[in-house]
């Protein structure tokens, strides 16, 4: 109790949250030494003699000052609650050579304080529950005298709680011990409110005049404690650009297993891109987290601009998909350098702090269980054109045959089928021995099941007594994908086990063990990912006339579904064990030292069975997928990571001046290795393994990645009256990724804030504007996100395309780039101005940020232009700089109308990035150039289609081809093979901006770009998240929307161009308006199907060049979640001994509003390609029901 009182107070004054205390695990000798020193240090502190007498003379001074004096003179060590002493009267004392305990009695007892000695420390406490007279409140004498204690959920007393009788105009305030005394009549309602906690009410009965009130935390309140780097702060005192997301708020009951998915739209400036609806998609890196964007230097960025993820102080290196969101208390996003810089080396692009849930002191064991049963269905799919339209397009493209049958016969038969489908019971006919599919087929629909299932269960128990807290949780989720469900090759399962136990060994030492195990298994069909181009892209080419099931005389024909059924999946298993030991020492008042050691072991195992499967096509030809004989591949990866944190925090107030100093040390070492073995010729395809493969030439390889970081950091906070707030950070970082001599960097930052509403002159506004804070920060952070060993000229082994007289040989390749010995840290400096406010009784809260981020000395080789005579890649150098400017706004409204409670929140962020410097001497547009706005799309301006009148009369042949252009009509340029071509009528004519009669790209430089210009920008602008909810009686409803306000996207694929792959493509219903001799006023240009030329070599490519006409609007609004919940009334709960029982129904990703063709999404991309929507794993609509219960 005494100790927790102490801890509470330190929390309130912005110090390290010592309830985070963890034990220090002595893993290495070095650490052993360290802890030994720490222990020694602690012993020294109270090892002095304390049985001596005291002489002292002070007049009207603070009690603490007297205690300090006694401490100095005697070597005694005091342990007390700062708040307890803050409330004491000044002391006057004069004594000479009196025993110390007498002196203490004389100064403490009159103040209502007691003391006793525990383990050599003098602990000062309040006197047991006898009310000091000085706290009696003068009130009219009522019939009942109520006495009570107000506590927080951890059992710490709450001072300043407002206690009043409902309807009364005034009330009382609890004292430093949380004690209040109030008079009330029986039957009146007592109301207790504390900022940061939910109001508490109770009806007064004659027998409850001795109340113990435990206030429940109100998560959305402005006065929250927020987690910051290596500590916590009161939200009011935060002067960085920080957004905290309480996981329970965003998770709610959503059928989402993945943390980053939940964060989408939850925090302004945190940009979460999810490109796929695949189960466990984040493990395949289709989910991207980014803070404030604009960090990629090139399309294929060298520098990883992901934010730094820290879980309970320790960097988190695995995939976020491994974490169970139910175990997370809050996620804090540190956006500006002022708040992120304390993490130094890896925080350049922001920090995401994950804080996990813990038990609370003096809390009865609380059992919680929740589940969620989900049905997933595929959202909107692309719609193919009808068979008739498809064949017409083949004819229009000049093709005479399709599937070994003349297109005119196809036309006739399809028409006959349309007239009387019943006469074709199988939906096909056979003409000239050729099977002709007449009923349309849909390979994608066949490939995807109608629905898939998902289940989530989570069980936890937490609680604590006055020394120990605990929380244990177990969660599972099984999520099935939608690809050929009967094959069961598409799923992601996970289970998580986590426990955290803290204990006070004694008043100055708290030990903590935090252990978690995360395990996931997932599978993907080999056919989906193991083939050259992924399945969704392949399927998008399949025409509606390709039979997919059974063809008479041939039998079951091969189809994408067939291949999935007949091949083996790729199985991925990941296991992570992460154990942290922590020790929190409080050797002297105001000082907290935390030592922590974490070991994190991450294993992955990927089994790939490239199973050989044979089939027949609808023409009866033999076909196969996979490698003959089959190849089994096992890839085993291990990451062994350990980290040490050692930091101390000291806080001290001098009158109204409050200071906190934190200094620390951090060290990380990571060792990763993987082994891949592969062997062909499986003797028994049903038992795929390396052992059952008999090829005499198995292959094996390994790889290693090691890195280490060391950082020394410090932070000084100062505030005056909690009104003027200042903070400076410094961090000195070393990284193994840089060459010796260039390893160390120093990164400072500073912030300041002003709580305007604390001023006297703003008092009159206070009823309306409750809180208003202006803040600013500047900081410089280093970035070292480059691959390890970059300063070594690695020569990677490879197998050459040359066989040495029948044997396979190995070689090593020349280094892929030359090495510059001088590169070092890339620096990112951020200037941030912001404001936070609470208006109208904090109903409307919000914040605003403006920032400018300059990235300097960007470590890259992509942007460096060197002549190709170099013969290899340009060296990695600190070259180039970027500048991003952006704003972020967050607004939340919360109120009630009658019995209806409601809330509404919106957050919006926007940024633009400009290249401020890049070594692109020639300003070629194929690379970045100075002054370039990131995301710019260069393209042609579509003018119109060429018409017959553009050609010399009579020069066109019967097919309206091969004509001679009239003078003055520009020729066509084909960017994909850099050649000029003669166009045909119906081809797209671009605007000849440079008036040289040829559509061209000039030298493709900024000064000479021919007819290209900037036609759009792909940067997603005005990204927003909207959430809201209402509750009435036992029902509540909530929603989450996310979207992008403005974006241009260039998407070129089968769904956006008719016959995208000339002759090898299909047609979609949105692509019918293409040019034909009779449809000259068309949207799309002429189509070419006769040559069978892949895009890139013929005129079709010129028609598909990046241009204004087909630029798509990427703005969208996605409804992420709708939830309806029913809370069982208290009567029911009491009867069933439950504390909570909720039933809910939720819909995830039910709708999207966008400007794309059907089935093409602005936010789904084809895997392994940035080419845009429609060919990726579709998002799934998820409907779920479940329950939450606690007891």
């Amino acid at each position: 109790m005494k100790l927790t009182a102490k801890m509470r107070s330190s929390k309130d004054s912005g110090f390290i949250d010592s309830s985070d205390s963890h034990a220090l695990l002595c893993k290495t000798i070095k650490i052993m030494k360290l802890s030994a020193v720490l222990l020694l240090l602690s012993f020294q502190i109270y090892a002095g003699t304390y049985s001596q007498n005291v002489s002292l003379s002070e007049k009207n001074v603070k009690l603490t000052k007297v205690l300090d004096a006694i401490e100095k003179k005697t070597g005694l060590y005091f342990w007390y609650d700062q708040l307890l002493l803050d409330k004491t009267e000044p002391v006057t004392i004069s004594c000479h050579n009196l025993p110390w305990n007498e002196v203490l009695s004389s100064i403490l007892h009159p103040q209502g304080l007691n003391f006793n000695m525990e383990n050599g420390t003098i602990v000062i406490t309040r006197k047991p529950l006898t009310m000091p007279d000085s706290l009696t409140i003068a009130m009219p004498i009522p019939p009942l005298k109520i006495t009570g204690v107000v506590k927080d959920p951890d059992g710490n007393p709450l001072q300043g709680a407002s206690v009043r009788i409902k309807g009364a105009s005034s009330g009382v305030v609890s004292n430093a011990y949380g004690i209040f005394k109030i008079s009330a009549n029986e039957g009146e309602v007592l109301e207790i409110t504390v900022i940061g906690y939910k109001p508490f009410t109770t009806v007064i009965h004659s027998n409850n005049n001795d109340l113990i009130v435990v206030m429940q935390t109100d998560v959305a309140n402005l006065n929250d404690i927020v987690v910051v780097g290596y500590g916590t702060q009161k939200k009011t005192n935060v002067i960085g650009s920080i957004t905290t997301v309480k996981m329970d708020d965003v998770l709610g009951d959503r059928p989402v297993t993945e943390v980053s998915n939940l964060l989408q739209g939850a925090a302004p400036g945190l940009l979460v891109t999810i490109n796929s609806g695949q189960p466990g998609a984040p493990q395949s890196s289709t989910t991207n987290l980014n803070i404030r964007g604009g960090t990629d230097f090139t399309g294929n960025t060298l520098n990883n601009s992901s934010p730094f993820i820290v879980m309970d102080n320790i960097p988190f290196n695995g995939s976020l998909s491994l974490i169970d969101p139910s175990d997370i208390e809050s996620v804090t996003v540190l956006k500006d350098a002022g708040s992120a810089a304390i993490y130094g080396a890896r925080s350049a692009f922001g920090v995401i702090l994950i804080t996990t849930k813990k038990g609370h002191k003096n809390q009865k064991a609380q059992f919680s269980y929740s589940n969620n049963f989900v049905t997933s269905t595929v959202a909107e799919l692309p719609q193919k054109a009808t068979p008739t339209q498809f064949i017409q397009q083949y004819i229009d493209g000049g093709n005479l045959t399709y599937q070994g049958q003349s297109t005119s016969i196809w036309q006739t038969q399809l028409a006959a089928y349309q007239t009387n489908p019943k006469s074709y019971p199988g939906g096909y006919t056979i003409q000239n021995g050729v099977y002709m599919q007449l009923a349309p087929t849909d390979a994608l629909k066949q490939f995807l099941g109608s629905s898939a299932n998902q289940q989530m269960h989570n069980f936890s128990v937490s609680g604590g007594n006055d020394k120990t807290t605990y929380r244990l949780s177990f969660g599972t989720s099984t999520e099935n994908g939608i690809i050929v469900p009967e094959a069961h090759q598409d799923y992601f399962n996970r289970y998580n086990l986590k426990s955290i136990i803290t204990t006070d060994v004694n008043p100055w030492l708290n030990l903590q063990v935090d252990a978690g195990f995360n395990s996931s298994t997932g599978a993907q069909p080999f056919y989906q990912v193991g083939i050259a181009s992924d399945a969704f892209q392949q399927i998008s080419n399949i025409t509606p006339l390709v039979p997919l099931d059974t063809v008479p005389g041939i039998g079951v024909v091969s189809s994408p579904k067939y291949w999935v059924m007949n091949t083996a999946p790729i199985n991925t298993t990941s296991n992570e064990s992460r154990i942290t030991g922590r020790a929190v020492l409080k050797p002297v008042r105001g000082l907290t030292i935390t030592g922590e050691y974490t070991i994190d072991r991450f294993n992955t195992l990927v089994n790939t069975y490239d199973k050989y499967a044979t089939g027949v096509t609808y023409t009866g030809a033999a076909t196969s997928v996979g490698t003959s004989g089959g190849v089994y591949t096992k890839q085993n990866g291990l990451t062994n990571y350990n980290a040490i944190n050692l930091f101390g925090t000291y806080n001290r107030s001098f009158g109204l001046h409050n200071t906190t100093l934190m200094i620390g040390f951090n060290q990380e070492q990571s060792h990763a290795e993987s082994t891949t073995a592969s062997r062909g010729q499986l003797i028994n395809p049903s038992i795929p393994s390396l052992n059952t493969a008999v090829s005499t030439t198995p292959t094996a390889s390994d790889s290693y990645t090691d890195y280490a970081n060391i950082g020394y950091f410090g932070r000084l906070n100062y505030d005056y009256k909690n009104k003027y707030l200042f903070q400076v950070n410094g961090r000195f970082d070393g990284s193994s990724k840089f060459p010796d001599g260039h390893r160390w960097g120093f990164f400072p930052s500073a912030s300041a804030g002003w709580r305007v509403m604390e001023e006297n002159f703003t008092k009159m506004l206070k009823p309306y504007l409750n809180e208003f804070k202006i803040r600013g920060s500047w900081g410089n952070v280093g970035n070292q996100n480059i691959s390890a060993y970059s300063y070594n000229g690695i020569m990677s082994p490879s197998v050459p395309y040359w066989l040495n007289n029948g044997t396979q040989v190995e070689t090593v390749n020349q280094p892929t780039q030359i090495i510059s010995p001088n590169y070092t840290w890339e620096t990112v400096s951020t200037l941030d101005f912001g404001a936070d406010w609470g208006i109208i009784k904090n109903h409307l809260t919000g914040s605003f940020d403006w920032y400018k981020r300059d990235t300097k000395g960007i470590l890259t080789n992509n942007a460096v232009q060197l002549p190709v005579t170099l013969g290899t890649g340009a060296p990695l150098v600190n070259a180039g700089s970027l500048e991003s400017k952006g704003v972020e706004i967050q607004l939340n409204w919360k109120d009630k109308i009658g019995k209806v409670n409601y809330y509404f929140g919106i957050n919006l962020s926007d940024y633009q990035t400009v290249v401020t410097n890049v070594p692109n001497a020639t300003n070629v547009l194929s690379s970045l150039y100075t002054g370039q706005k990131m995301g710019n799309i260069w393209g042609f301006v579509t003018d119109r289609l060429y018409t017959v009148n553009d050609f010399v009369a009579g020069s066109l042949d019967a097919n309206l081809k091969n004509g001679v252009l009239l003078p003055g009509i520009p020729k066509t340029y084909n960017t994909s093979n850099s050649s000029i071509q003669a166009p045909n009528p119906g081809d797209i004519l671009y605007k000849d901006l440079d008036k040289n009669d040829t559509i061209n790209i000039g030298q493709n430089t900024l000064t000479n770009h021919g007819d290209k210009k900037i036609i759009g920008n792909s940067t997603p602008r005005y990204q927003f998240g909207i959430n809201g909810g209402v509750s009435y009686k036992n029902f509540d409803f909530s929603f989450v929307l996310v979207g992008v306000g403005k974006q241009d996207q260039w998407i070129a694929n089968d769904m956006t161009f008719p016959n995208y792959w000339a002759g090898q493509s299909t047609l979609y219903s949105n692509e019918l308006n293409y040019w034909t001799p009779t449809q000259t006023n068309a949207y799309y240009g002429r189509i070419y199907t006769t040559t069978g030329v892949p895009v890139g070599t013929g005129v079709p490519a010129a028609n598909q060049d990046v241009q204004t006409r087909f630029l798509l609007n990427g703005a969208y609004l996605r409804v992420k979640n709708l939830t309806l919940r029913y809370n069982f009334p208290e009567k029911v709960l009491k009867a069933s001994h439950l504390t909570k029982l909720q039933l809910f129904f939720t819909m995830e990703d039910p709708f999207i509003f966008d400007h794309m063709p059907k089935g093409v999404y602005p936010d789904v991309v084809r895997s392994g390609s940035g080419s845009g929507g429609g060919q990726g794993y579709p998002f799934m609509k998820k409907n779920s029901v479940g329950l939450n219960l606690s007891f």
């Binding site: 070095k30 030494k33 020193v37 240090l41 005479l400 000239n432 021995g433 009866g620 030809a621 033999a622 490698t627 003959s628 190849v631 040390f665 070492q669 290795e673 592969s678 010729q681 090829s695 890195y707 280490a708 060391i710 070393g734 990284s735 010796d740 390893r743 390890a788 690695i794 020569m795 990677s796 050459p800 395309y801 040359w802 040495n804 007289n805 029948g806 396979q808 090593v812 020349q814 232009q865 060197l866 002549p867 190709v868 170099l870 013969g871 290899t872 001497a921 070629v924 194929s926 850099s978 000029i980 003669a982 030298q1003 493709n1004 006769t1090 040559t1091 069978g1092 030329v1093 892949p1094 013929g1098």
Partner: protein, 642 residues
Amino acid sequence: MKKYISLILLFGMVITACQKILNISPVSQTTDATSFITYQNFQTYAWGLYNYMDGYGVGAAMPSNFGSQEANSDNIMPNTILTGYETGLKIAPTAAGAATNSLTIANWNFTYVRSVNLMLDHIDQSSLAVSDKNHWRSVGYFFRALRYYDLLAAFGDVPWIEHATTDTSGDVLYGPRTSRDTVAQNILNNLIWAEANIKVNGDGTNTINRNCIQFLIARFGLFEGTWRKYHGLTNANTYLNASVTYSQKLLSTLGSTVSSIMSSYDDVYNTQGLIGKPGMILVKQYLSAGYTGSGSNGSNHQSVRYCGSNSANWVGDVAKNAVESYLCTDGRPISTSVVYAGDDSMYHTFRNRDRRLYYTVIPPYRIKYKTPTITNVTGASDTLWTYDSNPDWGSYIRLMNDTLKSVNKHLHLQAFSIDMKSGDIIPNIPHFTLYQNTLSSPTGKIVASVANYMGYYYWKLYNRLPLTDGSNYGSVNDCPLFRLEEVMLNYAEAQFELGAFTQAIADQTINVLRQRANPTNWPAMKMVVGSIDANFDKNRDQTVDPVLWEIRRERRIELFGDGFRFNDLKRWAKGSYLINQALGVRVNNATYGNKLSISGGGATGYVFYQPAATGWNDKYYLEPVPIQEILLNGNLVQNPGY
């Protein structure tokens, strides 16, 4: 205060203890400091240099030399659009291209040069004996010369880079191009040095050895010598003499009779296990993919797949002009041969011709399906057809199958399939893309495979060896890279250009090749130098000496499809040959549903597909330098005309 001092000391201890952990060097990875110590190291590294020799390519593409040298020439018509050389619309590319392989139209790319230089630069510091150092230097010189040969052929002047450059090697990176004279001289000098210093037998079977170096001198000498001669440069004879000298060395080592080369022309291209066969100096070997376990290491190619389909990745329309260049069995060109049957139909055209034509272009035939709607049966497509009524329509089937007993060029033709037994039977040749119907049963099932636009279908790489590697349809016929036949052709031509061509030389070279291809028409087809006069071929380019014309004809035929023609035309300064419109077989359009385009527009005549070329520009003899390279390096001067 003590406490704080203790703490500070503590931090200090940690600081000093931990800095060492930042020293991390790569595990299991080699760097240039560790890659060039032993003989074994050099050999390992050098295997990577062999990648330059593309052979039949890797995986799904057609051989790169075929695309660049044949489809850009008068041999093969590109089936997509006319090339920039033919339309006169060729322009300089903006950016430099990617890595290259031998005999492609070289990109302005120096990656390979650097790869070789990296090895050369590390020889001196190695622990090798002097003779071993000389050996690896010779190997390096060979590969670098191979690359510079391509660069020289494409661009003329190119920067000569002697050592691996760094970003601070300003004089190389930002220097001017080295003159053609110097580059050519460097190539020749390097090769001559290498010839004297390389291990005679290289590093074992089918590795770079003295024969390979002699071969490259012979090839390069002829190229550079004739280029100089026909483009008005000096010193042509230096290179021609080198070609002659080293050709003679090789011919004396390897022989110059029919038994010095393989007995079948077709087997040169369609044999699995070519290493060690007569005349083979260097071979690119292919094996089934199961060998590597991954199927992606390029151990097989896909030529047979593309020959046996009509994929867009394959260009296979042989021009009439090329078909007509094959001699008749009386040893005379069609213009003066008495056995030439004319070209009323393909059956006529193919009568009494040099048999290499039959191995290169599918001979005409027409068969019937036993059941018009069944064109393939898994494992037994062979059994589905019978001869059609007219005996002529089966005449070439009988010739190929019964008389020549051809294994690979067995007729009927069957589309590719994994076992080469299950594909569609092609009903007739010519088989047009624009009329894929079966002639014997026009309303029957349509077979789309092995159809083209002009009728003459290139099939030199077609064979019936089963394909491997599952859906990749890999072929495993080895590719002859350096072979004695080419030495013979180089020798004959170089000797002629030096004025020393004689009947004896003809008998050592051209007559060996002709006899091998046409043993039953021997000696009717023998080249008799004395009898070749101005009237020997009425279709001769009048600016070319009649004997030289015949030597060049022999080269075109023997090396047809091997990736030489475009460079040959360029070195002879005969780019103008490209402007002839490519025509195909002579047909009666009514037979093909009047779907074909007939030159001149009549009912019968030669099929055409591409419009007439609009013009060859002499600037195309040299390729343009990428614009961005010129922008980056002001000392680079563009080739004239671009």
